[in-house]
C-alpha cells in the first residue's frame, strides 16, 4: 500500500507543519487523558468501596464473608445470607434463561423467514432496554400474584412431594421469594444472552453449514453438530455476560425477593441479595457506623464477584470482539 517514495526528502512545509502542530498534540492528549480517566474511575471505585468497607472487614475479619448474622441492634453483621441469595438467584436465572435464549437465537438465525428476523430481533432487544424498576413493578404486581395463586401451589403439590429435590419446592406460596426473583432476572438477562448467541451463530461461515446440509443433515443437526461446536466458547461467554448482569441487578430483585435475612431451604422462601440489601438498608444506616461500613463491604464483595464473571466473559468472547 505504502508508496513513500519521497519519504527521505520531506517537503519543508510538511516538517514545519508536523512539528508545530499544536492541534494534534492537544487532541491526542485529550483522548489519552480521557482514556486514563476511565482507568482511574474503575480503580477509584474499587479502592473507595474497599476503604469504606474496611471497618467491617477489620471488625469481623474473614468470617464476614460467610457469617449469616445481620443484627443491627447487636451490631453484628455478616455477608453470608446475601451472598447466598445473590449467587442462587443469578445461577437459577441462568438455568431458566439459557434454554429460552438458545431457542430464540436458533429461531432467529435458522428458522425465521428473513422479513421477520429484524422486527422480532428488535422486540427481544427491547426487553433489554426496559428499566429495572419496571421489571420490579411488573414482577411485584403481575408475576408474584400469578405465582402465588397458580404456579407455586401446583409446583408445591407435585415437585414438592418428590424425594431428594422436594425440599427445594416446599413452603407457603407467597408469590415473592428467591424463585420469583430468579424468574424476573431470567427475563431481564434473556435478551443479552439471546443477542450474543444470535450474533455468534451468524458468524459461522456459511460453507460449513452448507457442507453439512449437503450431507443431508437437518437444521437441528447442523445447529448441534456444526454451529454449536464452532461457537461454543463465545456462547459460554454470552452466558457469563448474563450471569454478570444478574449478580448486580438491584431494583427488580428488591421488589420481589421478599427481603428476609435468612437462608431458607425452599426456593419459594424469601431471601435477599447483596444489591437488594444495600438498596433497602443503606438509607437507614448512619455514615461512619459499622452497619454503613458493612454495606459498603458488601458492595466491594459484589464488585469483586461481578468483576471476575465479567472478566471471564470478556476473555471468552475475545474472538468475537476481534472480528
Amino acid at each position: 500500500m505504502s508508496q513513500a517514495a519521497t519519504a527521505d526528502t520531506p517537503h519543508p512545509a510538511a516538517t514545519r507543519r508536523s512539528r508545530g502542530n499544536v492541534g494534534d498534540i492537544v487532541f491526542e492528549g485529550a483522548c489519552r487523558g480521557a482514556a486514563v480517566l476511565v482507568l482511574i474511575l474503575l480503580g477509584a471505585i474499587i479502592v473507595e468501596l474497599f476503604l469504606a468497607g474496611l471497618p467491617a472487614f477489620r471488625a469481623f475479619g474473614l468470617p464476614f464473608v460467610w457469617s449469616t448474622d445481620w443484627d443491627p441492634v447487636q451490631e453484628v453483621f455478616g455477608a453470608g445470607v446475601s451472598i447466598y441469595g445473590t449467587v442462587v438467584t443469578a445461577v437459577l436465572a441462568i438455568v431458566l434463561a439459557v434454554p429460552l435464549a438458545f431457542g430464540i437465537a436458533f429461531y432467529l438465525t435458522e428458522l425465521a423467514p428473513p422479513w421477520l428476523r429484524r422486527p422480532v430481533g428488535t422486540a427481544i432487544e427491547l426487553l433489554a432496554a426496559v428499566p429495572s424498576i419496571i421489571y420490579g413493578m411488573w414482577g411485584f404486581f403481575v408475576i408474584a400474584p400469578a405465582f402465588a395463586q397458580y404456579i407455586q401451589p401446583t409446583i408445591i403439590d407435585t415437585v414438592g412431594e418428590l424425594p431428594l429435590v422436594g425440599f427445594l419446592f416446599q413452603g407457603a406460596p407467597f408469590g415473592t421469594g428467591i424463585f420469583t426473583a430468579a424468574f424476573i432476572l431470567a427475563i431481564m438477562i434473556l435478551p443479552f444472552i439471546a443477542a450474543t448467541m444470535r450474533d455468534v451463530f451468524e458468524q459461522v461461515p456459511p460453507v460449513y453449514k452448507e457442507s453439512a446440509y449437503g450431507l443431508g443433515a437437518t437444521t437441528w443437526e447442523v445447529m448441534r453438530s456444526v454451529v454449536l461446536p464452532y461457537t461454543r466458547v463465545s456462547v459460554v461467554g454470552g452466558i457469563m455476560l448474563g450471569l454478570g448482569r444478574a449478580l448486580g441487578e438491584t431494583m427488580a430483585v428488591t421488589f420481589v425477593i421478599g427481603n428476609a435475612n435468612r437462608i431458607s431451604t425452599s426456593l419459594f422462601g424469601p431471601g435477599n441479595t447483596i444489591a437488594s440489601l444495600v438498596a433497602l438498608e443503606f438509607g437507614e444506616s448512619e455514615a461512619g457506623s459499622l452497619k454503613f461500613a458493612s454495606l459498603l463491604a458488601l458492595g466491594f464483595i459484589l464488585f469483586v464477584l461481578s468483576f471476575l464473571v465479567l472478566a471471564a466473559s470478556r476473555y471468552l468472547l475475545r474472538s468475537r470482539l476481534k472480528a
Binding site: 507543519r17 492541534g23 487532541f27 491526542e28 483522548c31 480521557a34 482514556a35 480517566l37 476511565v38 482507568l39 474503575l42 477509584a44 473507595e48 468501596l49 434454554p99 429460552l100 435464549a101 431457542g103 429461531y107 432467529l108 435458522e110 428458522l111 422480532v120 428488535t122 422486540a123 427481544i124 432487544e125 427491547l126 426487553l127 426496559v130 428499566p131 429495572s132 424498576i133 421489571y135 420490579g136 413493578m137 411485584f140 434473556l190 435478551p191 460449513y208 453439512a212 443433515a217 437444521t219 453438530s225 456444526v226 461446536p229 455476560l241 448486580g248 441487578e249 438491584t250 431494583m251 444489591a275 444495600v278 443503606f282 455514615a287 459498603l296 458492595g299 464488585f303 468483576f307 470478556r314
Partner: protein, 297 residues
C-alpha cells in the same frame, strides 16, 4: 464437526431400507420438535414483552392525566402529580449525558484512532466494558463516598455524576465500533491531502460516523433515564419543587420506587403512570436510535 448419525448402532441404510426409513423419520421428527421449541421460545420471549407493555398501558393509562404534568408530588390523599420528578429526571439525565458523552467520545476515539492493537488500548477497552456491565448500584455507592459524604449531603450534582459515569462506557463502545467501520482508505486520503490527524478525526471520521455516535448517545440517554439504584444514594429524591442541583433532587425512577412500595392507592396509581412514561420514553429512544442508524445504511 463430523456428522455421524447413529454410526455403529444401525446396520446402515444400504443394508436395510426399512431401518433407513425409520432413521430418517426419527431424525426429521427430532428436527421438527426442536423447530417447534425454538418457535415456542421466541413466542414466550415476545409474550413477556407484551405482558409488560400491556400491564403498563392498562394500569398506567388509568392514572394518567394532565395533572401528572402540572402538579408536584403531594402526600397521599391530596391530589399530586409527578411534575418535579419528571423535571428532575430530565435535568439529571440531560446533564449526565452532556458530561459523560464528550469523555466517552474521546475515549472511543482514542481506542479506534490511536490505540488500535496496543496493550494500553486493550486495557482501556477491557475496563470500559467492565464499567458497562458493572452493577449500577455500586456506582451510586461510589459517588456517595466521594461526593455526598465530603460535601455534607445528597445533591442533584451527585446524581448527575453517577449518571455520567454510566453514560461514559455506553458512548465509548458505540463510538469505537462506529469509527472502526470507517475504511482506512478514507483516512489515508485525508492524510494524503496534508491534513493533520486531529482534523482527519474531527472533520472526516467523526462526521462519517456521526449517525452511529448519535445512536450511542440516544442509547445512553435511554439507559440513564430509567436508572434507579445509583440515584437512591446520590440525588435521593425531593418531594418539593426544586431545580437547585446543590440540593436533593427528585427523579422519576426513585419516585416510582417509593410510590410503588407504598400502601396508598393513589400513589401506586401515580407510580404506574410514571412507569408508563419512563418506558415509553426509553423504548421510544431505543427505536429512534435504531432508525437513525438504519437511515444511514
Amino acid at each position: 464437526m463430523s456428522i455421524t448419525i447413529g454410526a455403529g448402532i444401525h446396520p446402515g441404510p444400504r443394508k436395510d431400507l426399512k431401518v433407513a426409513a425409520a432413521l430418517g423419520r426419527r431424525r426429521r421428527r427430532m428436527d421438527a420438535i426442536v423447530r417447534i421449541l425454538g418457535l415456542v421460545a421466541m413466542l414466550v420471549g415476545l409474550a413477556f414483552l407484551a405482558s409488560i407493555l400491556l400491564t403498563l398501558a392498562y394500569r398506567g393509562s388509568e392514572a394518567m392525566g394532565l395533572s401528572i404534568f402540572t402538579r408536584v408530588t403531594a402526600p397521599p390523599g391530596s391530589e399530586g402529580g409527578l411534575l418535579n420528578p419528571i423535571v428532575g429526571s430530565l435535568i439529571q439525565a440531560a446533564l449526565g449525558t452532556a458530561i459523560g458523552t464528550p469523555v466517552g467520545m474521546l475515549v472511543g476515539t482514542y481506542l479506534a484512532e490511536y490505540a488500535r492493537g496496543s496493550k494500553f488500548g486493550n486495557l482501556v477497552r477491557f475496563v470500559s466494558d467492565i464499567l458497562l456491565s458493572a452493577p449500577s448500584i455500586l456506582i451510586g455507592l461510589f459517588v456517595y463516598t466521594i461526593l455526598v459524604m465530603p460535601f455534607g449531603g445528597f445533591s442533584g450534582w451527585a446524581g448527575v455524576a453517577a449518571l455520567a459515569i454510566i453514560v461514559i462506557p455506553v458512548v465509548v463502545r458505540t463510538t469505537e465500533d462506529m469509527l472502526s467501520l470507517i475504511p482506512n482508505t478514507l483516512r489515508e486520503a485525508v492524510i494524503g491531502l496534508g491534513a493533520p490527524k486531529w482534523k482527519m478525526i474531527v472533520f472526516v471520521c467523526w462526521k462519517s460516523a456521526m449517525s452511529g455516535i448519535i445512536t450511542g448517545i440516544l442509547l445512553a440517554v435511554a439507559r440513564v433515564a430509567g436508572e434507579t439504584a445509583p440515584l437512591l444514594f446520590t440525588s435521593l429524591g425531593n418531594n418539593a419543587w426544586s431545580v437547585d442541583l446543590t440540593k436533593p433532587m427528585a427523579s422519576l425512577p426513585v419516585t416510582i420506587y417509593a410510590y410503588a412500595g407504598s400502601p396508598f392507592e393513589d400513589w401506586i396509581g401515580l407510580a404506574w403512570a410514571g412507569a408508563l412514561l419512563i418506558t415509553l420514553g426509553v423504548l421510544g429512544l431505543n427505536i429512534l436510535a435504531r432508525s437513525v442508524l438504519r437511515g444511514r445504511k
